[in-house]
Symmetry: C2
Amino acid sequence: MKEKRNNISFFFNPKAIAIIGASPTPGKLSSVILESLNRIGFSGSIYPVNPKYTSINDLKCYGSIHEIKNDIDIAVIALPSQSVLETLKDMAKTTPYPPFLRGNKVKGAIIVSAGFKETGENGRKLEGEIKGIVEKFGIRVMGPNCMGIYDTISKVDTFFVPKDRVGRPVRGGISIVSQSGSFAATIMDELALEGIGVSRVISYGNGADVDESDCLEFLKDDEATNAIALYIESVNDGRRFVEAAFRCTRKKPVVAVKVGRRDAGVNAARSHTGAMTGRYEIYRAAFKKAGVTEIDGYEGLKDACRIFNVYGLIKGKKVLIITDGGGIGVRIADACENSGLEVAGITEAARNRLTSRLPSFCAVGNPIDLTGSVTDEDYLTALEEGLKDGFDIAIMTVLWGPPQLTEGLVEKLKKTMKRYNTPIIVCSPGGEFTKMMGRIFGEKGIPVFSSPESAVRAAAILTGKRI
Amino acid sequence: MKEKRNNISFFFNPKAIAIIGASPTPGKLSSVILESLNRIGFSGSIYPVNPKYTSINDLKCYGSIHEIKNDIDIAVIALPSQSVLETLKDMAKTTPYPPFLRGNKVKGAIIVSAGFKETGENGRKLEGEIKGIVEKFGIRVMGPNCMGIYDTISKVDTFFVPKDRVGRPVRGGISIVSQSGSFAATIMDELALEGIGVSRVISYGNGADVDESDCLEFLKDDEATNAIALYIESVNDGRRFVEAAFRCTRKKPVVAVKVGRRDAGVNAARSHTGAMTGRYEIYRAAFKKAGVTEIDGYEGLKDACRIFNVYGLIKGKKVLIITDGGGIGVRIADACENSGLEVAGITEAARNRLTSRLPSFCAVGNPIDLTGSVTDEDYLTALEEGLKDGFDIAIMTVLWGPPQLTEGLVEKLKKTMKRYNTPIIVCSPGGEFTKMMGRIFGEKGIPVFSSPESAVRAAAILTGKRI
C-alpha cells in the first residue's frame, strides 16, 4: 500500500495527457487547459477526448479513452460532476492494480470538476465513490474541485484560468501545494508579475485521493524543488502528514498557512473544499513537531515564496538594519523585535570604522541611517563594515528619493553579499520608479519587499520561526 | 500663548514663499523645492534668496530676506545646519511678537536642513537655540530635519525629492502628519501610483516648534481634511497631545502608528529625529483616551489612508464576505475573527433568497462563495440579498480569473452600495490584469486591496478598533 500511496511522480513527468470533455469553445475550462498545455510547451502527446468532435484545434479528437492506443499518464476530467464517476470507472478498469507492475493505460486523473463533498451530502457520497474506484483499481486521482498542476519543469499547465487574466510565473525553486486553487492561482499571478519563479504548483482541491502528504513525499526528493509552501484547510491523516512533513523538513524548508481556524473560518472551509478543519491548536502542534514553519496568511505565504526562491534557512537571528529613511528604519527595528529577530547594537570597533568611513550626517548604530544624502558607495560601506560584526542577515531599506542613487547599486551589493555569504533583503516601499528598480534588483537575484512588515516577515521566515 | 501655539494655518494658505539658500544647480534640495512649487502650480509669489545669484530659473533672486518688500508666509531654509541659526534669527527679528497683531515680515520657517538633535549633543544645543528664537520672536518653525509640506489645496510642495523618483498624489480627503519625512514621502509615492488622493501632508521632523498637536489643532477645523493619519516617534507634551487629539476625534477619524517601541526601535528613533520615545504603553493609553485608532506599522497606515479617502467610520462590526475564490474567502473569515470583526451567519430567509437566485454550484453562507463560474450578476445578487440582513460592511473578493467577469461590475456595485448605504471593500490579489481592474475600481470610488489581510485591516480600521 505504501508504494501505491506515495508514487505520484508520473503526474510530474507525463508523456501523454488526455483531456476528457475537450471542447473547441473558447473560454470553456477544457479549452483553456488545451491552450495552456500548448502555450507552456508540453512536449508529450495531447489527446482531446469528446465523442462530439473529430478534431479540436488541429488535434485529432477521440470518441473515448479506449480509442487511444498509447498509455496515458494524466487524464484531465473536465465534465459535469454527475458524469465524472462513470468516466473515471471506465478508464480505471483499464488500469489493473498494481499499475506500476502490470502496466496500465491511464495512470492518473485530475478531476477539475466541482460539485462534490463541498456541496453537501449528495456530493460527499459521489466523492466517496471516487475513493472506492481509487481503492479498487489503483488509478490515482487529483481533485475533484481542483486546478491540478502548473509545472515549469515538465511543462504541464492544467490551471483553467486564461493567461491574460492570470499570469504564469517563470521557472524557479519553490513548489506550492494548495487545497485552494484560487489561492494558488492568485499567488502564481502575483509572482509572475514580479518575475519570481516556481517549480511545481499543485492544487489538489478536495483531496479525495492525492493529498498534501503524497505531494510532500514526492517533493521531498524532487531536485527541482528547494522549498515548499503549503496552503491547508484540513489534513485527512494527521499522523501521516506529520511523518511526511518531518521527512521533508530534514531536506528542505516547508512553510504552511492553515486557514479555517475559528468558527467563521471553519464553516467557510467546510463549504469550500468540504474540509473538516478540526481544532487549530492540533495543527499548530503538528507543524511544530514536523519542523514546518507556520505562516499567518496570504501575504506571509507570498513572502515565503519570494524569499525561498533566493535564500535557504539561516542559522542565527541577528539582523543588521541599514536605511536611507530613518522612519522606515525605526519601524523595521520594531517589527524585528516583534518577530523574535535580534537587533543587537554594533561593536565599538565597527562603530569607529563606520564613523570614519561614512559622511558625518549618517547615524551610526543598528540601524545605520545613511539619510537622504546617501550614495551607492555609502550603502556598500555600511554593509561591509556592518557585516564584519557577524550578522546573520541584513535588511536594507532603499528609498529611491535621493537622485544620486543608481541602479548600479545592485551589482555592487551582490559582490559584497557573496563576499560575506550573508543574505540581504531589500525593503523598498514606493511608487513607479521604486517598483521599476525593485524589478531590476529582483531579476539580478536580490529580493525586494515593498513594506517594512513584509521585509521583516521574510527575514523571520528564513529563521524558521512561526510568524 | 495658546493662540500663538495653535495658529499655524498660514502654513496652509501662503501667499508668498521665500527659499533661503536657493540654487539653480539641478538635484540640490532647494532646486528641487523650487521645481516642485512651480510644478504643483503654487499661485502666490516665490522669492529665491541667495547672495550668489541675481536670478534663478527666470525668477529674481534676492541677496537677503530684507530686500524683499512683501511679507513672507513661509521661508524655506535649505542651508547647512551651522548657518541656519543666524539666518533664522535674522528673519525672526523682523517679526515683532505677537506677529498676528502687529504685522510681520516672515510668519513661519520650514527648516529642511538636518544636523540637529538627531546627531547628538552639539545638534541638541543648536536646536535649543532655535526654540529660543521661536519663544523670543514669535516666528513659527517647522522642522528642522523635515520635508515640510505637500498640500494639494494651497498647492505647496516643499518635499525635496524629485517627482520622477517620488510621485505626488492627487487631491483627496486624508491628511498625513509625520515626524518622518521618508515615511510620508513613501506613502505619498504609493498613493500616487494607485491614484489615491491626499489633502495635506506635513513632515515636521524634529518638531522644535510646530508639532503633532499644532497640526491636529489646525486639521481639526480644516474642511479639506476628512481624516488624519499620524506617524509618531515621540510626543513632546503628552497632555497637550491627548487634548488636541481628543478634540480632533470628536470631529473626524484619527489613526496613528507609533514607532520606537522596544529597545531597538527606541534607540533607532533617538538617532533619527532625536526623539525620546518613552514607554510604548503610555502611548497606547494616550491613544485610547483620545479616541485615536492605533495602527500597527506602515502597511496599516497606508491602508488607513486608502480607506478613509472613501469611507468614514462605521457603527457596527458585522461583515458580509462574498468571494469567487473559496480559499481567499476562508482566509478573510479567519482574519476578520482575528481582528475582532463579526462574521455572523446569514438568516434562514436570506439563505433561501440566495439559494433561489444564485446558481446551484454556489455555496451560500457567510462567506457566500460564488466559485470560479461567477458572473457580474451573481456578485450583485449576493450583495443585494446578503445586505438585506443588515451587515455593517461587505468585503468582496474579486479574483479576475473567470473570463466572464467584466469591468462593468464596478458601476453596478456602486449602485447597489448606494442603495444599501453600506461600504464595500474589494479584495483583489493578483497580477497585471487584476491591478488594471483595481485601478478602474479605485478611480470609480470603490477601494480595492491587494491581499485578504489588507482588506480586513481596512475594514477593522473603519470600526475604529486598534489593529
